[in-house]
């Protein structure tokens, strides 16, 4: 995704990526890790060494930040456990952007 055709700033992929990276850094700080470089290709388990329970915490933070517009639990419910393990920051970013765009499109009707 290179352009944001809807023109809504909140659904901007770059901003969403920055938001998610910030949430992840806060999570990693709890483990005393704050040096992690976070890109679209970063994987939650292998690169950041997060456990599935950390993704649950991330889900709570996403809800606080975006409200009901982004349902992370529903997103991962469709994934197999090994797909959750292999999940990248980019995949989550795309899902958040898509969710935000969907609610914006619905709201403007």
């Amino acid at each position: 995704m290179t352009t944001d055709a809807t023109g809504f700033a909140t659904a901007d992929p770059g901003e969403v990526l920055a938001d998610i990276a910030g949430m992840l850094r806060a999570l990693l700080e709890e483990y005393g890790l704050d040096e992690a470089e976070i890109t679209r290709e970063t994987t939650f388990h292998d690169d950041l060494e997060l456990e599935s329970i950390d993704l649950v915490a991330l889900s709570g933070t996403l809800r606080e930040h975006y409200g009901d517009r982004v349902n992370f639990a529903e997103f991962v419910a469709d994934l197999e456990l090994d797909e959750i393990i292999a999940l990248t920051v980019g995949q989550l970013t795309d899902y958040v952007v898509k969710s935000l765009q969907a609610t914006e499109a619905g709201g403007s009707r």
Partner: protein, 268 residues
């Protein structure tokens, strides 16, 4: 959300029941209890939890003491402490409905113990690949936990797990070893309170799901003989990881079970 349960803080996640037209009165509530050492509420959060909420059931998931994002005290891992946390959690949440307790592996043992020791709070019990908390169970746990505690502290064992079962399992094993080395869990779990072998302490309906390749399915005849209201399901070609590997089967069996007992709860 974190909640005080006794002397520790417990990490809880709730998913509210989606509205259902046919729902009369309050929806049923299911509490999911995860297994020992390598497990957390994430096992439900990413499998059954959302599906149950979507079907109009209130879902409560929590991390056991020592696990996930709940507190990890140095000691206090007897079965009665785990059951105390569950009761304390329901108190703290103000839950007045009787709950359907669903437990995976050790979580199923907790569920059965909760039914025995808090019969007023439990509508039904489901054990997925579990044993009820009888004396023989404590012997199995004592052997298994002592062995895990001894083996997993060796880096070459973790290396072997990595080579044969992958990096993810190796990381989980390292996490398990951390709990075992830094707490008295391995000694506490087998030394707690038990129920009598005849299972007469369990008076609510009990559902037990097993994989036929796991040794635990050998309990089926005894469970059916000892319990009046018991249903057993044995999934073919399946080992211990029923919840992860047979999520859809487990979901369908459990949803039908909860619906079937909903009316009985409503007319109480």
């Amino acid at each position: 959300m974190k909640i005080r349960t006794g002397e520790i803080t417990t990490h809880v996640q709730r998913l509210p029941a989606a509205p259902r037209e046919e729902q009369q009165g309050e929806p049923p509530v299911v509490v999911f209890v995860h297994g020992l050492l390598t497990d957390s509420l994430a096992s439900y959060y990413f499998t059954l939890g959302p599906a149950f909420a979507a079907e109009g059931i209130d879902v409560i998931m929590y991390d056991l003491r020592g696990h996930g994002r709940s507190d990890r005290p140095h000691s206090g891992y007897q079965l009665e402490s785990f059951v105390g946390d569950l009761a304390g959690l329901l108190d703290a949440l103000g839950e007045h409905r009787r709950v359907h307790v669903v437990g995976n592996s050790f979580g199923g043992t907790i569920a059965a113990a909760a039914a025995a020791w808090h019969p007023d709070r439990v509508a039904t019990v489901t054990m997925i690949e579990s044993e009820p908390p009888v004396a023989e169970w404590t012997r199995h746990m004592a052997d298994g936990l002592a062995d895990a505690k001894d083996q997993l502290r060796h880096e070459e064992v973790i290396g072997w797990i990595k080579d044969n079962h992958g990096a993810h399992t190796a990381r989980l094993s390292r996490g398990a070893s951390r709990i075992l080395q830094t707490t008295t869990l391995a000694e506490d779990v087998p030394s707690g309170r038990v129920i009598a072998d005849d299972l007469s302490a369990i008076n609510c309906p009990l559902l037990a799901i097993f994989g036929d390749e796991s040794g635990l399915s050998a309990q089926v005849p005894a469970l059916e003989t000892k319990l009046d209201r018991c249903r057993t399901v044995v999934l073919p070609d399946q080992g211990h990881s029923v919840l992860v590997e047979r999520t859809e089967d487990t979901r369908d069996i459990l949803l039908a079970w909860v619906r079937e007992h909903e009316l009985a709860e409503a007319v109480r």
